[in-house]
Amino acid sequence: MLDKNGIAKRIAREVKDGMYVNLGIGIPTLVANFILEGVNVVLQSENGLLGIGPFPLAGDEDPDLINAGKQTITTVPGSAFFDSALSFGMIRAGKVDLTILGAMEVSENGDIANWKIPGKMVKGMGGAMDLVASARNIIVAMQHVNKAGESKLLPTCSLPLTGLRCVKKIVTELAVLDVLPEGGFRLLERAPGISVDEIRNATAGKLIIEGEIPEMVL
């Protein structure tokens, strides 16, 4: 079973040289720490930056320089600042190659819910609805089951939706799965030490298992 860093490390292998990538809050932010040697990418922050760098050294924090999670950051050489309309303009125009974000639920046809639990929790959608409506490739980083032990990979989402038919791939502590255009989660890889049966038991939506399922390489 993977921890949060393990999930981020596996997703980092999906990040290819030359990509513009938007990382959501939480596990997706950790992906930046594991991008492979020789893979040069530009990280987009939807509050208005291309070229996110590492966290600053203590004492170098600048309140005018934050990421979309409101964390203090730095820039890398070649970075650019812009306003929020331009930021979502480049997202809407499909210029961002890959979006990695968290989710509360994903359905077997690629619907995603991640912004609201009616009556309990309302944080807002932030930029998630814009990102999932326009990104060419969307990978979800999340736990396979929720705190109550219920599957988050469902036939249909029960929570208010963020976007329709948009998730392409999911990486959880148990597995890597593709979401097929015709519907269904196709199991691609198992986390180290996890059996196909454990993944099957944790998946409520339609799970497609073809042939031997390899253990993931980290």
Binding site: I66, T72, G124, G127, A133
Partner: protein
């Protein structure tokens, strides 16, 4: 032409109860601290505030929530503010949550003189309820209307006496868009210089969008999430 005003209290003159305000900033980054303090001193109530976030419990717009001056918030993300969430869930505060890009583009539309825009954000979600859906080239889009803002209040790094503005790093965020969308726009700046001192090639927002400008003071510039690495 000289748009310079002496103080925040003078800059917000004319803002009455039930006004529709736009406020710049993302989280606590680039928020008009001096003007928010002046609004609290003035005590105007029943405000509608269009702002990406609502500050935190004890800073930014969060301060105006504590004083119950806000009747309605139009925002994209309100996490990290317990009082906001409490007022929302109890029904004391009206809240429109809208996608961040939709928020930005509805402001841009107002500043560009366009009545509405089409965006795919929110199609098939509760955001789409009651909205026109139109298909272009095989993809569905929602019709979203430009904002109608009485007073826009923004924070810039540098400004000149003509109202030209330059922002610093990610504190630009929603500020130029909010500024463009107001019938009357108030800009507070860290550094105010005479016309001619800013390079025209470096202006982020031309002064035509700014009605009043003043030099702010005592900026706290709070950091919401202080994250550092070890050397």
């Amino acid at each position: 032409m000289n748009k310079v005003i002496a103080s925040a209290d003078e800059a917000i003159r004319g803002i009455e109860d039930n006004a529709v305000l736009g406020l710049g900033g993302f989280g606590l980054c680039g928020i008009p601290e001096n003007s928010i303090d002046a609004l609290i001193r003035k005590g105007v109530k029943g405000l509608t505030c269009i702002s990406n976030n609502a500050g935190v419990d004890d800073f930014g717009i969060g301060l105006m929530l504590q004083t119950r001056q806000v009747r309605k918030m139009i925002s994209s993300y309100v996490g990290e503010n317990a009082e906001f969430e409490r007022q929302l869930l109890s029904g004391e505060l009206l809240v429109d949550l809208i996608p961040q890009g939709t928020l930005a583009t509805r402001l841009m539309a107002a500043g560009y003189g366009m009545p509405a825009i089409y965006t795919p954000a929110g199609v098939g979600t509760e955001v789409a309820e009651g909205k026109e859906v139109r298909n272009f080239n095989g993809k569905d889009y929602l019709l979203e209307h430009a904002f109608d803002i009485d007073y826009s209040i923004v924070k810039a790094w540098k400004g000149d006496t003509q109202g030209n503005l330059i922002f610093r790093m990610t504190s630009r965020n929603f500020n130029p868009l909010i500024a463009m969308a107001g019938k009357i726009t108030i800009a507070e700046v860290e550094e105010l210089v005479p016309a001619g001192e800013l390079d025209p090639d470096h202006i982020h927002l031309p002064g035509i969008y700014v009605s009043r400008i003043f030099k702010g003071s005592n900026y706290q510039k709070r950091i919401e999430q202080r994250t550092v690495r070890t050397a």
